[in-house]
């Protein structure tokens, strides 16, 4: 493994972390959108506040991490991605601003009406943002981003793989979030709520699985390089993801919410890693390899060092936060 490969792997680790942690965040917003009016949705929305309130900013740092690693380690690839995919990135940016702002504002609103208004903005942008992120992933994975950034600003990200990516992203984050929320609700002693959102997790998992099968067909046709990678190097991960997904469905059926969360994470993580492995050693599929795009060696070494420093400083802090948030009294209403 070359230094450039290592940098690419660390970058992709950020993609995986964002898909899981940022994904569970976005997905919570999807369920917030579907929770019904203020009375019906109050319990679920309070659970969502409790579950993602302390962690959402930290979760979205992964996106910044990915961007920063991309421009430092693979500057030309970054320029090309941001130029060709200007429109979806802009939409993602707007989605992130509106979502983050509205979530913070909702918490401190002074009336139900005001809270509802912020809530709708938060929830709607929670659907839109992962959708366009999925479209961006589809554009890169199907080889539609030229190395010089000269791709068409519309057709580059509206191919079949992009649509598949967008839809799958929204479904996946919803499934993931439902398992997280069910586990959190159970830990907080809200059994009824756990059963309710856990049921949603089961059905969204089923739909996501079916959509993934349809996606596989589209990818075969539209993204040859990715498809062939998924057949070979990535096959184990694809199978692993499918198996974890099935296990999640079984566990959800048995109302084992905490375990189902783990298998759901495994299912999502495996398929995202599978995407990375399948498109290796391209950074822009069919256009630019990792080795070609790699920046200066001292910078790559610097990035690895930064990563290690982060691993010994930020990660323990993050674990502390997660542990605190998941402590029983943090989850219960009577702390």
């Amino acid at each position: 493994m070359s230094l450039a490969d290592l940098a690419a792997a660390l970058l992709f680790l950020g993609v995986v972390a964002y898909a899981i942690l940022g994904g569970a965040d976005f997905g919570s917003g999807v369920w917030d959108l579907l929770a019904g009016d203020a009375r019906q949705g109050a319990h679920l929305r309070s659970q969502i506040d409790r579950s993602i309130g302390p962690v959402w900013e930290a979760n979205h740092v992964w996106l910044v991490y990915v961007l920063v690693f991309l421009w430092s380690a693979f500057p030309t690839a970054f320029g090309a991605i941001m130029t060709t995919l200007f429109v979806p990135w802009l939409l993602v940016g707007l989605g992130i601003v509106m979502r983050g702002g509205a979530f913070a504002f909702r918490k401190f609103s002074s009336s139900v009406r005001e809270a509802q208004l912020h809530g709708i903005v938060f929830a709607a942008s929670s659907v839109v943002t992962p959708f366009f992120l999925g479209m961006i992933a589809g554009a890169v994975a199907s080889g539609r981003v030229p190395a010089d950034g000269s791709g068409d600003i519309w057709s580059s990200w509206t191919g079949p793989t992009s649509w598949v990516g967008g839809v799958l992203a929204v479904l996946t984050v919803s499934f993931l979030a439902a398992t997280f929320l069910a586990a959190d609700a159970q830990r907080g002693g809200r059994v009824e709520l756990a059963n309710h959102i856990g049921g949603r997790a089961f059905w969204s998992g089923l739909v996501t699985g079916a959509a993934a099968l349809a996606a596989a067909v589209a990818i075969e046709v539209d993204a040859e390089t990715l498809a062939s990678g998924l057949h070979t190097r990535g096959l184990v991960l694809v199978i692993g993801s499918a198996a974890s997904g099935l296990a999640s469905l079984l566990l959800l059926r048995r109302r084992r919410w905490a375990l189902a969360r783990l298998t759901a994470v495994a299912a999502v993580g495996a398929i995202v890693v599978g995407w990375g492995v399948a498109q290796y050693d391209w950074i822009l599929v069919d256009e630019l390899t990792i080795a070609e795009a790699a920046g200066a060696r001292p910078t790559l070494i610097g990035l690895v060092i930064v990563f290690l420093v982060a691993a010994v400083t930020a990660v323990p802090a993050l674990i502390w936060l997660f542990v605190l948030v998941n402590q029983d009294d943090w989850q219960s209403e009577h702390h």
Binding site: F78, G93, T299
Partner: protein, 474 residues
């Protein structure tokens, strides 16, 4: 310097010029917005630490209540700052792909390091906010320390990048534009780093301190002169006044090397037309057709300030190629606005010291008996923001037409995407509404705290009896 033109999508120069302005406006808007929020991220935790520590040491319930409130207010500001910061990382690529494709590996590392700092800030802020009543008091207090250190380090990283744009180093650029011999550490420790970093870090304390103090000054003007208000004023105001006093010295050091580092910026700041030693400072004045109209000259001062010697030669705009001159009037007026605002802040700070010395009351409340002093403290908050934005305008506009001084022109870094105007309009709308809503929400919080000091701000998401407390309860 055709080799530098990283021409994305090969559009015509005219289209590019319009896009350049749209991109610059958008960047100016995003940064001008984020710079205020990041000041709170950097400086507010230190102020919270002081009141929190006081609350624990002296068993001071009012101080603890302040710490709790400030923590919540900073959570809102931090959230908005987090998203506006995320947008900036997008804009580096959406607006300036030429810069990042060419120099990404030279100057990307401090961004990555800042990422860690931000991460630690976010995590510990979460721990602090949710730690009330859940962590042991001493441990809880100490969770503010990593936030403060991360703010300091994050400022260092971002200012390293900005200083590098002013004094680029740490690489070799071949004749064909290829970048080799990249040394990211040398790029970070460039010649402009330390004074710029110090100037911005201290500015964060002035901005945050004066704004927070102004909130309590308004309260006292409206007759709420309880101890909590006095404490809420005194702690941030002390930070701010100390910062305001330090700023001229640090600013002077930052300006010292400009005569050799960025002569065109210095010429614009001082409105120097001809190259000369014993150059004057021009107060006010406008450059029209290459001549300074109006303004008051203070002989020899510019040379003295720029090089600690009257013999320092200041290069005039006449000796700078026309296509390498920044818009001198903007830079000059921005610079002088910063100096003027800074001087006024020091005067207000001096007034405060004077009032404190003459205060004969036992509880220190005499300081606040003058409504004019309280009004001036409110003005100081506005001045702090003006000085911040003006100073930032000075350094950024003063660097034009370069994005990387002497090496890459801003027009060669900008995206050629025709969508920039659209994104600019949308950004203006979003930022404006975010500012309005953030203000409204913060005012609402303060109103509810006033109505019920013990109010824990429940999440009113649910009707009637279903109000659910989400935040820390006790």
């Amino acid at each position: 310097v055709g080799y530098l033109s990283v021409q994305y999508r090969g559009v015509s120069p005219i289209v590019a010029a319009e896009e350049l302005m749209a991109a610059r406006y958008q960047m100016a808007l995003s940064l001008g917005y984020h710079i205020i929020l990041s000041c709170f991220g950097v400086a507010f935790p230190a102020m919270i630490y002081v009141v929190h520590r006081r609350g624990l040491r002296h068993d001071d319930a009012e101080a603890l209540a302040l710490a709790k409130k400030w923590g919540k207010a900073s959570a809102v500001l931090f959230a908005v700052g987090a998203v506006s910061g995320t947008i900036l990382s997008f804009e580096m690529g959406l607006l300036w792909p030429g810069l990042m494709s060419t120099y990404g590996d030279v100057i990307g590392l401090p961004f990555a390091m800042e990422g860690i700092a931000f991460f630690i800030e976010a995590v510990f802020l979460g721990i602090y906010l949710y730690g009330w009543g859940r962590l042991r008091p001493e441990v809880h207090l100490r969770t503010l320390l990593p936030i403060m250190v991360a703010g300091l380090f994050g400022t260092f990283c971002i200012l390293a990048v900005n200083a590098w744009m002013n004094a680029p180093t740490g690489f070799t650029q071949l004749a064909d534009g290829t970048i080799t011999d990249v040394d990211p550490v040398a790029a970070i420790f460039n010649d402009a780093l330390w004074p710029q970093f110090a100037h911005m870090w201290v500015a964060a304390f002035a901005v945050t301190g004066f704004i927070v103090a102004a909130v309590y000054a308004v309260g006292m003007l409206r007759g709420r002169r309880d101890r909590s208000h006095r404490l809420g004023f005194t702690v941030p105001f002390t930070f701010a006044v100390i910062a305001a006093l330090l700023q001229p010295l640090i600013g002077h050091i930052a300006g010292l090397r400009l005569d050799t580092q960025q002569p065109s910026k210095l010429a614009a700041m001082e409105l120097a037309v001809e190259t000369e030693d014993h150059a004057p400072v021009v107060l006010g004045g406008v450059l029209i057709d290459g001549e300074v109209r109006g303004g008051i000259e203070i002989p020899w001062m510019a040379s003295l300030l720029a090089g600690n010697s009257f013999d320092t030669v200041i290069v005039g705009l006449d000796d700078i190629p026309d296509d390498e001159e920044p818009p001198a009037n903007i830079v000059h007026w921005a610079f002088q606005t910063m100096i003027g605002a800074g001087t006024a802040m020091i005067a207000i700070g001096g007034w405060w010291f004077w009032r404190r010395r003459r205060d004969t009351s036992t509880d220190g409340s005499g300081v606040f008996e003058s409504p004019w002093f309280l009004r001036s403290a409110v003005v100081a908050a506005a001045l702090a923001v003006v000085a911040l934005e003006a100073g930032w305008t000075t350094t950024e506009v003063g660097r034009q037409p370069w994005i990387v001084y002497g090496l890459m022109r801003t027009e060669d870094a900008v995206t050629s995407n025709p969508g920039v105007w659209v994104s600019l309009v949308v950004m203006i709308a979003i930022y404006a509404s975010m500012a309005v809503i953030a203000g409204k929400v913060l005012l609402g919080m303060s109103r509810r705290w006033r109505e019920d000091p013990a109010s824990d701000l429940p999440t009113p998401y649910g009707p009637g009896g279903e109000l659910v407390t989400t935040g820390p309860a006790r």
